[in-house]
């Protein structure tokens, strides 16, 4: 128990505020002034921010067309898997009352498709996709190998279920002239995905790089034929493929399909007028009670058209202000009685 003298001596100098628990500290004492002014500030800021967000969201033009019902015949055809080789096209026309200015993005949207299922997300091989080992299919169950035992490239449930409708937008300049709206099919995926996460195996020839692998069972053609015109968009680095591989968080999701190529008539964006989508209907959704839609949208600084964030800010601001007003009222009332509210 008794500590030695030297010990004591050596202890003396570092008898610090820290050891004596006397460190200077700011005490979190919420006084009425602080709370009320804080509430006011937060409330006002949120209201302001909400209004800004609301305005900017309002400036967005968006067109969404659900084509599951509109292409009912095609949908019915696709219910039966045996009809996989039968083509089915479907045309949907719509009228754009106002022009869409600036960059216009074309999305496809799926309803009721659970890209976030545990075993679905698990079923991919990142090692394969990064190009180091095309035959690595470890986690890809149940789409590891084809019937003849060859490893599937790209393997797994995600790749296998890739969205494969083709959507073409026609601008009906007049009743006879249909201009195909120019669309860019690249740069729809994240930069890191395109250049880091997805890489083709390094081979002279893409098809030989994938030699010894099989195409996913649902795919009509192997991966190295996804975009034969553009080698930079072929194989694993195909933008459509990459976009699909980034699995969505919700069962209803949209994915970027094309960007408007702003040339000719479309330098400013999409002019108002009549348009039609020509859809090559391949992707079956009826079997999981899903739906498909196609979306045209512009963007602002903060992104898309959803009002939610704006509303969240507005509501928070309003509630906070209300709360602060009522608290102030009580405070003032109690102050008269010399009992303090909110110290």
């Amino acid at each position: 128990m008794k500590r030695k003298c030297q010990d004591y001596e050596s202890r003396l100098p570092d008898n610090t505020a820290m050891k004596q628990q006397q460190l200077p500290a700011f005490r979190l004492q919420l006084s009425a002034n602080e709370i009320l002014s804080g509430f006011f500030a937060i409330g006002l800021f949120c209201l302001g921010m909400g209004i800004i967000l609301l305005l900017s969201a309002k400036s967005i033009r968006e067109v969404e067309i659900n084509y599951t019902a509109k292409c009912a015949t095609c949908a019915k055809l696709r219910e039966d898997a045996t009809n996989f080789d039968k083509e089915c096209n479907c045309s949907i026309s719509f009228y754009l009352p106002q022009k869409m200015e600036g960059n216009v993005y074309l999305y496809y949207k799926l309803y009721g498709f659970y890209q976030n299922l545990y075993r679905y997300i698990l079923s991919r091989s990142n090692i394969q996709l990064v190009g180091t080992d095309v035959k690595d299919v470890r986690n890809c169950a149940p789409f590891k190998t084809s019937d003849n035992g060859l490893p599937i490239a790209p393997c797994g449930a995600i790749a296998n279920s890739m969205f494969n409708d083709t959507i073409v937008l026609l601008y009906n300049f007049n009743s006879s002239t249909h201009i195909r709206v120019p669309m860019v099919r690249t740069e729809t995926a994240w930069w890191t995905d395109k250049y880091v996460k997805f890489q083709n195996p390094t081979f002279q020839n893409l098809s030989s790089a994938f030699a010894g692998t099989a195409k996913p069972p649902n795919w009509p053609k192997p991966v190295y034929e996804l975009d034969e015109k553009d080698p930079g968009n072929n194989g694993f680095v195909n933008d459509d493929f990459i976009v699909w591989m980034r699995t969505a968080a919700f069962p209803n999701f949209k994915k970027l399909y094309r960007r408007l190529h702003r040339i000719g008539n479309f330098t400013e964006g999409l002019p108002a007028g009549s348009y039609s989508f020509i859809i090559n209907y391949n992707f079956p959704v009826g079997r999981f009670q899903g739906q498909k839609a196609v979306v045209l949208s512009t963007l602002t600084w903060s992104g898309g058209s959803s009002l939610f964030l704006a509303l969240a800010y507005l509501v928070t601001g309003a509630v906070t202000l209300l709360a602060s007003f009522s608290m102030m009222a009580v405070h003032l009332k109690l102050k008269e009685r010399k009992t303090f509210f909110l110290q």
Partner: protein, 1411 residues
């Protein structure tokens, strides 16, 4: 038995057993610590055979050959079985852990089995080695043992279980190693801590084992290290050396083969002890003699009793000789004042008494820890519920989609059990993995803070406070019952000889002139001696007795003689005699030499009849220089008086003196002698020899034998020794009482002394009614207790301003099964309980009973060996590291140097630690629930598939890195308010004491809060991202993008929440909160660019780049935490308004700039401050006091000192007969003002400026009225007490018929200022009631009050008079007939039974508003 044992320290040491010979009372060990031996015996089978082994077999079979193929674990039954097995494992481990917690090496001492040691036959002595290892682990045993200990903690075992589950392919959504790694990190951290601690022990052991000693081997002396010493070796030790093993002394360099040893290592006693070899072996000194020695020693098996040893030496061709503790030298003792000794080793290594004693005290667990375990269980249930809900959800989802969607490929279903496991793994982090290790570190640092505290550093002997265990830190904040020893704990245990009474004449100055420093100083004594006063011979005999009758060892240094005594009383007496010219100069084994007034006298000591707590006396038989056989005895008055001869003189006078001494709080001893005739002595000697050789019950037969000669004493006189109170004891006690800690004093001392000490340390106050229980039989005890309970009526069970005083004899009956409950009810209704003349066993027993009955946290504080029992029994044991040795300290959980440090230990450290630990725990729960409930929300979106929303390593690092710092700062640096405030307002202690801020309810609130937060934290970002494109260039996002949003917001919210919980932010808090957020953001950026360079987290690739530039991310970064936390802030504000706690008020006051003096500078003004604070003190004012069932008197000397005791100020309004106003000037209300100040007093008393001026807050008139009323009442009071003053007719005539339940205080208001005396000093804020009680007290106690003087007024006074009238006490100067108040009290008790309820007085006050 043993000469050097602590002899007749006398009565004053009371029930204190001789310190050395402390032993666990048999009854106690079976009664109080059933776990120790019991558990041990149950332990081994558990380890060896039972379910544990079974489980390990199962594990071996299934874990080690775990199914690796996918198909196997997909089977339907497998997961369920897994689950069952692991549950079984958990259960088994927790069972084992229960048992592991207890001491392992406690030996049953009741089975004396002989061991035989053959002299000079080393091969036949095969006993344990002398090398010791106190380390927990060895190099090889570390890993298995450590892992075993770790996994026997339920939480760790749970995570092990999860880790094992994760190894099943596909079952784990979070990967295989995400639990394993944090678990390993945590295990490594605590492993390192263990290794460091164990390394120190190893080094210490090594040092000890390699010490050198000299041993006789092959007929020659050899130097060997300690560890090679064997049983049977003959060891030679020289002066100053420590002894390597327990041995029997053969011979020594000193005459008569004696030697001196210092035993401070063992028991902390600083005096030297004499050991003496048997005369048969004393001559064996040469190698030759020793080598030719043959024979054997038979002795008892190793045990842990320092001062018992039973052995027999069988030498060839000689009769067996018994060996006692006198011949035994123990390992760890140091040889002193002796050139060399020779000894034969009997116990080595772990079997030495030193090592046998070095067992850890039983593991205590704090209440918070228990609650936490409970709460973890709650979380586990929550986890199960969530998993089940998710499973049901999964079934529902599958049902809805009828079949699995085509994009999942083949249809394979998982069984329900499999799904359950998936979800258990998914949510398992609800249970905070880092909680245990966080708490361990936090508590370790808290303990360091206690060790470092300069305020608890006693400069006197340079001792710091020491936390010997860190797992009770927060328990210090919850103490409700404090059991304190008296001697050495409340008092200094530095004895000074103050007074004496010789031959009926009292010497020593009167109390008022005694200055504390002075010892006995009365020239009258020496004058009487020199002037041939008739009592000269008595004086001489008296002083001679003081010089001779003791076991003190003198140490000469030049001309100075210092005395080494095992009991401070003895030293005080010897020193006192020395001052008076009777100097004790030398002690030989068979004689003592004294210098009586310059004349050297040698007394031959024939026998020492040593002290024991049973005997309460010690005697010594000497042959005087004149050749006369004489027995000197000193001891407690009770035992001496029983044995006085009829011829003895001065009996009455001495009795009166004794009574006076006791009233002054002095420790008294009676001294007496008897001359023996040779025949008488010889007869007795035969008996003695027979008794000392008794095999069975030797102690008992010795005592009987002693008893037979200790009779027909002639009384010489009495001594009085003062044991001063320690510094600041009264202040500390006042403080602790205000903190709602009930203080029970458990002492071995006499009732009068105890009461006096209780008065002087403000435990009792003058106006506090006392209930004294002194009975002799069970029936009487039962009757008295029942009567008192009945009298209390409705107030039973509530806290009343009463004191209960009980002695050991009565307590024995009171703790009898039938009476126990009633007694406890009574005792718990009293504010103060004083138990006198208790044995150590009783001390422990009473603590145990209260602990079990009340379920409150108990703390026992003591300094001596006799307190060990209660220290170990209480929830928290505090040892005073003072003069009494180390035994108490070694068995305590906290050691402090002074009683007054208890104030800081409890009020500051305890309260702080409680706040810290509970906040830390709740916060850990909160943060885990917040994060992992989100998985449940996400499961709703993803069809209950078990997908995680976050990256798997982020999940595991959440507890280890990103939110690991805030719990630490909360646990280490949080301060609810400054220590000055905590000390100033002990009421704050009640917050932690009641435990309201940490219980299951609080946990649920916290959990609900966390669920709400997690709801916001998930759904806000989810809705933000659900339908929208948030990235520039129209990019779409994925699930992990959402996950990272949510995760970031969680980290921010959780860190800020910690900030909100933190009441005082220091630099570390800032570092932890902002640092954690920055660490996560930095980690996020780096971690998302690792793939594929470093093959981790492919799914994180690019997330950082995209998220950190996304406007939505930052918009959410702002709004989401605000939405979460603003409710908390609002809720806090509302709560503080509607129900403002004392804590808030104090904090407010602190921050509103009231100058808080630094503690050091305010020390001096402390007393004034205390007085000032009293007015703030919400005293429990419910007082019942009873006509004559209670003793209302304070001892006379102390009457005047009871100043400033915060009584309840009187409430004179008839309306509030039963109410006693709150105390204190500030809020005191006198008379009619009560109603008004009731509202004003409560609130206003706390307003910031209150300190400076109380009038500011009280209407002037009221304040004046208060103080005026008080003064008046006081002026009236003392005179009525008539203490020593001639009685006068009382100005107020007695009413004809005292009304039932009349307002008693109206009586005193009439007393008016007419009374002239100013005897009583201003009694502080105590109001008229105080006065009233004093009147009553004076009536009851003041013997000079003449009966029937016509002064009786009102009920109380009438009662008092009646009482006094009936009392008819014999007139003695002190007014008390018998020094043993028993008779007196029991008579008054008898009247109580007759008294009936008509004479009841109630003063039920309102309870404090503050806490």
């Amino acid at each position: 038995m043993e000469k050097n044992e602590r002899p007749a320290a006398g009565e004053s040491r009371g029930a204190a057993q001789p310190r050395g010979s402390w032993r666990w009372p048999k009854k106690l060990s079976s009664h109080l610590r059933p776990e120790a031996p019991l558990k041990l015996s149950r332990l081994s089978p558990v380890i060896k055979s039972k379910p544990v082994a079974l489980m390990f077999q199962v594990l071996n079979k299934y874990v080690l050959t775990a199914p690796t193929s996918t198909d196997l674990c997909m089977s339907h039954y497998e997961p369920t079985l897994w689950f069952l097995w692991t549950c079984l494992l958990l259960w088994g481990l927790s069972e084992v852990e229960e048992k592991m917690g207890w001491r392992q090496s406690l030996q049953g001492a009741d089975v004396p089995m002989a061991r035989t040691i053959y002299l000079n036959e080393p091969l036949r002595n095969t006993f344990c080695k002398n090398s010791i290892s106190t380390a927990k682990y060895s190099m090889w045993s570390f890993l298995p043992r450590y892992l075993y200990l770790q996994f026997s903690k339920t939480a760790n075992a749970f995570f092990l279980f999860i880790t094992i589950l994760q190894q099943i392919p596909e079952v784990s959504p979070t990967g295989k190693y995400t639990t394993l790694v944090p678990l390993l990190v945590i295990l490594v951290i605590s492993g390192v801590k263990e290794i460091v601690e164990d390394y120190k022990r190893h080094m210490a052991d090594k040092l000890v084992n390699s010490k050198n000693t000299i041993v006789l081997r092959q007929n020659a002396w050899q130097v060997i290290p300690w560890k090679e010493v064997n049983v049977g070796d003959i060891v030679k030790a020289t002066n100053g050396q420590f002894l390597p093993a327990d041995m029997v002394l053969i011979s020594s360099s000193e005459p008569q083969a004696t030697c001196f040893v210092a035993t401070s290592n063992l028991d902390g006693e600083t005096n030297l002890k004499i050991r003496q070899a048997l005369s048969e072996t004393a001559t064996m000194k040469t190698e030759k003699q020793l080598s030719s020695l043959s024979g054997k020693i038979k002795c008892e098996e190793p045990n842990f009793h320092f001062n018992s040893f039973m052995g027999t030496l069988y030498l060839k061709e000689k009769s067996p000789i018994s060996i006692g503790p006198d011949q035994v030298l123990l390992r760890g003792t140091q040889l002193k004042n002796t050139e060399w000794i020779l000894g034969v080793v009997v116990y080595t290594g772990f079997e030495t008494k030193f090592m046998q004693n070095a067992v850890k005290s039983p593991l205590k667990r704090s209440k918070v820890e228990k609650v936490t375990n409970m709460q973890i269980l709650v979380l586990f249930l929550l986890l199960l519920v969530m998993s089940l809900v998710s499973c049901v959800g999964a079934i529902y989802w599958k049902d809805r989609y009828r079949a699995e969607p085509w994009y999942l490929g083949k249809k394979d279903y998982h069984s329900f059990g499999f799904d359950l496991l998936v979800f258990i793994i998914l949510y398992h982090n609800l249970i905070p993995i880092s909680l245990l290790v966080t708490l361990e570190i936090v508590k370790y640092i808290q303990a360091l803070f206690i060790n470092w505290d300069e305020d608890m550093h006693f400069k006197g002997n340079n001792v710091y406070a020491m936390a010997r265990t860190s797992n009770l830190n927060e328990e210090l904040g919850q103490v409700e019952y404090l059991f304190s020893d008296k001697t050495g704990t409340l008092t200094c245990n530095i004895m000074t000889f103050k007074k004496c009474s010789i031959a009926g004449i009292m010497y020593g100055q009167s109390p008022c002139f005694i200055s504390d420093a002075y010892e006995f100083n009365d020239p009258a004594l020496l004058q009487n001696f020199k002037n041939d006063h008739p009592t000269k011979e008595y004086i001489k005999e008296f002083l001679t007795l003081l010089c001779v009758c003791h076991t003190v060892v003198p140490e000469r240094e030049g001309n100075n003689i210092s005395y080494q005594a095992s009991s401070p009383d003895e030293a005080a007496l010897v020193k006192g005699a020395k001052k008076l010219g009777f100097v004790f100069t030398a002690r030989m084994p068979n004689s003592v030499t004294i210098e009586a007034m310059g004349e050297e006298l040698t007394f031959e000591i024939l026998n020492v009849l040593e002290f024991s707590s049973n005997r309460k006396r010690m005697s010594i038989i000497v042959r005087t220089p004149e050749g006369q056989l004489r027995l000197y005895c000193k001891g407690a008055d009770s035992v001496i008086y029983e044995r006085l001869s009829e011829k003895s003189l001065f009996v009455e006078e001495t009795l009166v003196h004794l009574e006076n001494f006791a009233r002054e709080g002095l420790r008294t001893l009676c001294v007496a002698y008897i001359d023996l005739t040779e025949i008488e002595y010889k007869q007795w000697l035969v008996m003695y020899k027979k008794a000392s050789r008794a095999v069975r019950d030797r102690i008992q037969s010795l005592e009987d034998c002693y008893d037979s000669i200790e009779k027909k004493f002639l009384l010489l006189g009495a001594t009085a020794i003062e044991d001063r109170l320690q510094a600041r004891v009264p202040e500390t006690i006042t403080s602790l009482l205000k903190a709602n800690i009930k203080i029970w004093v458990l002492t071995g001392d006499k009732q009068e002394t105890a009461i006096n000490i209780a008065y002087s340390c403000k435990l009792l106050s003058g106006q506090m009614p006392r209930i004294q229980l002194n009975t002799n039989s069970l029936e009487a005890t039962q009757q008295v207790i029942n009567q008192n309970c009945q009298d209390l009526g409705a107030l039973l069970g509530k806290e009343n301003d009463l004191a209960l005083i009980i002695d050991g004899k009565t307590l024995k009956h009171a703790l009898h099964v039938e009476v126990r409950k009633c007694f406890l009810n009574l005792a718990l209704s009293c504010r103060t309980v004083l138990c006198c003349r208790l044995s150590p066993l009783q001390k422990a027993e009473i603590v145990d009973v209260v602990k079990k009955q009340v379920k409150a946290i108990t703390l026992a504080i003591g300094d001596g060996a006799n307190d060990v029992g209660m220290i170990q029994t209480a929830h928290v044991g505090v040892g005073i590291s003072g003069n009494e040795g180390m035994l108490a300290t070694n068995n305590s959980d906290y050691a402090i140097a002074q009683f007054s440090y208890l104030e800081k230990l409890l009020l500051v450290h305890g309260a702080w630690n409680y706040f810290r630990v509970t906040k830390c725990i709740l916060y850990c729960f909160y943060k885990n629930v917040v994060l992992y409930i989100i998985e449940l929300w996400f499961a709703i979106v993803n069809g209950f598939s078990g997908q995680i929303i976050f990256e798997r390593w982020c999940i595991s690092l959440y507890n280890v890195i990103f939110t690991s710092l805030p719990p630490f700062t909360l646990g280490i640096f949080e301060r609810c308010c400054s220590q000055e405030s905590l000390l100033r307002y002990p009421q704050l202690y009640r917050i932690s004491q009641t435990g309201d801020i940490f219980n299951i309810k609080v946990l649920w609130i916290q959990c609900i809060n966390a669920v709400v937060h997690s709801f916001i934290l998930f759904w806000l970002p989810a809705k933000m991202l659900e339908h929208d494109v948030v990235l520039q260039s129209g990019y779409t996002t994925d699930y992990l993008f959402l996950g990272n949003f949510v995760y970031t917001y969680v980290v921010v919210t959780v860190c800020l929440k910690a900030g909100l919980e933190t009441m005082s932010w220091n630099k570390f808090t800032h570092l932890a909160i902002w640092g954690s957020i920055m660490i996560w953001l930095g980690f996020f950026a780096v971690y998302s660019s690792l793939w594929p360079t470093i093959p981790v987290a492919p799914e994180m690739t690019g997330q950082g780049n995209m998220a950190l530039v996304c406007p939505h991310f930052w918009l959410g970064f702002f709004i989401v935490p605000i939405v979460c936390l603003i409710q908390n802030v609002a809720w806090k504000s509302i709560r503080n308004t509607c129900h403002r706690t004392l804590l808030e008020e104090v904090r407010e006051m602190e921050s509103s700039g009231v100058q808080v003096l630094r503690r050091d500078s305010s020390q001096r003004s402390k007393v004034e401050e205390v007085n000032l604070q009293r007015s703030v003190s919400p005293r429990p004012c419910q007082v019942v006091f009873r006509n004559n069932s209670v003793d209302l008197g304070a001892p006379r000397r102390l009457f005047a000192q009871v100043a400033g005791d915060p009584g309840c100020s009187g409430n004179l309004g008839a309306r509030s007969v039963r109410r006693c106003a709150r105390c204190g000037a500030g809020r005191g209300r006198a008379g009619r003002s009560s109603a008004r100040s009731e509202s004003a007093g409560v609130r206003v008393g706390w307003s910031p400026g209150w300190f400076t001026e109380s009038r500011r807050v009280l209407p002037v008139r009221e304040a004046n009225a208060t103080s005026e009323g008080r003064k008046q009442a006081f002026r009236g009071a003392p005179e009525v007490q008539a203490r020593g003053a001639p009685r006068q007719p009382h100005p107020v005539p007695a009413p004809e018929k005292p009304p039932k339940f009349a307002a008693p205080w109206t009586l005193f208001t009439n007393l008016g200022p007419s009374s002239p005396t100013g005897l009583v000093r201003d009694a502080g804020p105590a109001g008229p009631r105080t006065a009233g009680e004093q009147v009553l007290g004076g009536r009851l106690r003041g013997a000079e009050t003449e009966v029937g003087a016509g002064v009786c007024t009102g009920v109380c006074a009438a009662r008092a008079c009646e009482f006094a009238r009936e009392e008819k006490r014999p007139e003695t100067p002190s007014g008390i007939a018998c020094p043993r108040t028993q008779g007196w009290v029991s008579r008054s008790r008898a009247r109580l039974f007759r008294g009936g309820p008509s004479s009841r007085l109630f003063c039920a006050g309102t309870r404090s508003w503050a806490c």
